[in-house]
């Protein structure tokens, strides 16, 4: 949500907002991991699912290193057999057990509030499953030798530590599917949204603090306090946190991943991800947006990010899009509005864009220009400007003053 309209908050709303803020900060933390606490949590999870603690903890430097390590060590897991993988047991016997009880003890309003005011903002802050999508993309587009050097080293070292003990768990006769074993991880801090949601409801629900389900919740929360972790009968693999996280503030503590000057996530091994206002983008969007790169990009959201990064004015000029109309900017003497055609191939549907100009000067005296996409049926610049405020062309033409 861009911009926050203000409504007075009562104590309960303040408490829920503070909880979401605390968990957002935890989710995006680059502080050193408390490994003792993490270990206690993971051992607790193994205990709750009644599986013997393997004792072999293998640390890797990033989620990508984890994925490559599992591949190199020929860990064979076919998604669909998750019921036999430990992640299924952790989700089922720990997470779902707690989740179900919390739903039982809470009323609908409390659950809805927890989802909208706690789960949603924390999930948005971590970018949903953006990191997993990035790993999937890395696997789809290149072999491991293209990864950062330290990622490869970490992956090889980890694979050597687990290779002797991996077991083929695929169905007999079925082709081993090694490239997606990494998907059977728990997200660690990237799963903070659920932890935030559950700890909030657990606090609201009250009651006996010695109950068993609270111990399960605590174990899972502790186990999710580092990076991705991959539980197996013979080992547990776990990833480091990123050492760099860059975000932008959205007001009231809401954040999302964004960096206009470089990567927004960097892991200790150098694996880096770029984000533009919460959307994961290829490096070129941030480092060097060009018309050619924008037009060659298959993903429509990434194209939009590329245009914004380049700036609408620069893009419109360099891409030589068709100018449909210009008009004096009502209420803004001496400046004009311009309406351009945007090809459907660029925007994903027919559209036009209004190039508007700020009504107030910048510190250096210039006026900032910005692009506002508008529906394709806007026939004049003034009509387009009026649409952006939901009023008629005549009403906008009569604008007394714009600042």
């Amino acid at each position: 949500m861009e911009g926050m309209s203000i409504k007075p908050m009562d104590d309960a709303q303040r408490a829920i907002a503070a909880h979401a803020l605390e968990w957002t900060d935890r989710a995006l933390s680059t502080e050193p991991v408390d490994w003792q606490r993490w270990l206690t949590g993971v051992r607790g999870c193994y205990d709750h699912i009644s599986v013997r603690w393997p004792g072999n903890v293998v640390r890797v430097s990033s989620p990508l290193a984890m994925a490559r390590a599992l591949f190199l060590a020929r860990v064979d897991e076919t998604p669909g057999d998750e019921g036999r993988a430990l992640i299924g047991m952790v989700r089922g016997l720990v997470q779902d057990r707690v989740d179900g009880l919390l739903s039982k003890f809470s009323d609908r309003a409390q659950v809805t509030r927890a989802l909208h005011r706690v789960h949603s903002p924390v999930e948005a802050a971590v970018g949903g499953d953006a990191v997993a999508q990035a790993v999937e993309h890395a696997f789809a587009t290149g072999p491991g030798i293209r990864d950062p050097h330290d990622t490869q080293e970490s992956a090889r070292a980890a694979a050597r530590r687990i290779a002797p003990s991996t077991v083929r768990l695929g169905r007999a006769g079925q082709m081993a599917n090694r490239s997606s074993a990494w998907q059977l991880h728990l997200g660690g801090q990237w799963d903070s949204a659920w932890c935030a949601y559950a700890t909030y409801l657990a606090g609201v629900v009250g009651g006996d603090t010695r109950k068993g389900w609270r111990r399960r919740l605590q174990a899972l929360v502790d186990a999710q306090s580092a990076g991705w972790w991959w539980p197996h009968l013979s080992f547990v693999m776990v990833s480091d946190r990123p050492r760099v996280v860059r975000t932008e503030e959205l007001g009231d503590g809401l954040r999302r991943l964004h960096n206009a000057d470089g990567p927004a996530l960097v892991w200790p091994d150098g694996w880096s991800l770029y984000f533009w206002h919460g959307t994961r983008v290829p490096a070129w969007v941030v480092e060097k947006p060009t018309v050619d790169a924008i037009h060659a990009e298959a993903n429509v959201e990434v194209r939009r990010c590329g245009i914004e990064s380049m700036g609408w004015e620069a893009y419109l000029t360099k891409a030589r899009l068709r100018l449909i109309d210009t008009a004096a900017d009502p209420g803004n003497d001496g400046f004009e509005l311009r309406l351009y055609e945007v090809p459907a191939a660029v925007w994903g549907m027919p559209a036009r864009v209004l190039l508007a100009i700020n009504g107030s000067p910048e510190r250096d005296g210039t006026r900032r220009r910005y692009g506002l996409p508008v529906p394709a049926d806007m026939d004049t610049a003034v009509h387009a400007a009026a649409w952006t405020y939901g009023i008629s062309q005549d009403q906008y033409a009569g604008l007394a003053r714009r600042t």
Binding site: L115, E249, I391, R401
Partner: protein, 173 residues
């Protein structure tokens, strides 16, 4: 008639120094725009916008009322008025979904913003609306793998994952 520097002195709110502080702020009773906000007289939009029944009206204090905070460290639009001259409410129903507030001014009031300076509004009834832009068609939700789906709360898993195509999104400075 007030100048920008009068307002900043009275409210304690700051504006950028390169704006013309000694200029008398023009006062109008028609449509005016301040950045991404529109101040519109209520009458021409009466068929689209109205205050909700049971709306909570608050007095606008001399220090100003924040109507909209900008994102990413951006600045706030504040409504300022002399004591006992203006009431406002955030409980507004807008067929276009753009209204954030309505106010009823018995004397001249001002909308203040750090980068845009001040907008003078004559006595009357007004609605404040945000600006919108067209967004792209929603990319169809990837069918979530088992893994991701199970990381969500059960209450969400049970909901139908229908993506409603929103035709526009709201923007801010």
């Amino acid at each position: 008639m007030k100048r920008l520097m009068d307002l900043t002195a009275e409210t304690g709110l700051v504006v950028d120094l390169h704006l013309m502080l000694d200029m008398v702020i023009p006062v109008h009773d028609g449509f005016q725009a301040q950045g991404d906000l529109l101040v519109a007289p209520l009458a021409p939009l009466a068929d689209r916008v109205r205050a909700a029944e049971g709306a909570e009206w608050h007095e606008v204090s001399p220090g100003g009322v924040e109507l909209l905070r900008g994102l990413a460290g951006g600045n706030t639009h504040s409504l300022v008025a002399d004591p006992d001259t203006c009431v406002w409410t955030a409980d507004v129903i807008d067929a276009d979904g753009l209204a954030i507030a309505a106010f009823d001014a018995m004397a001249t009031v001002y909308l203040l913003h750090r980068e845009h300076g001040a907008t003078g509004i004559a006595a009357g009834q007004y609605v404040v609306r945000r600006q919108r832009e067209l967004i792209q068609p929603r990319v169809p939700l990837r069918r979530m793998g088992f893994v991701r789906h199970r990381s969500l709360p059960r209450a969400v898993q049970r909901e139908v994952l229908a993506a409603q195509a929103a035709r526009y999104r709201l923007i801010a400075d």
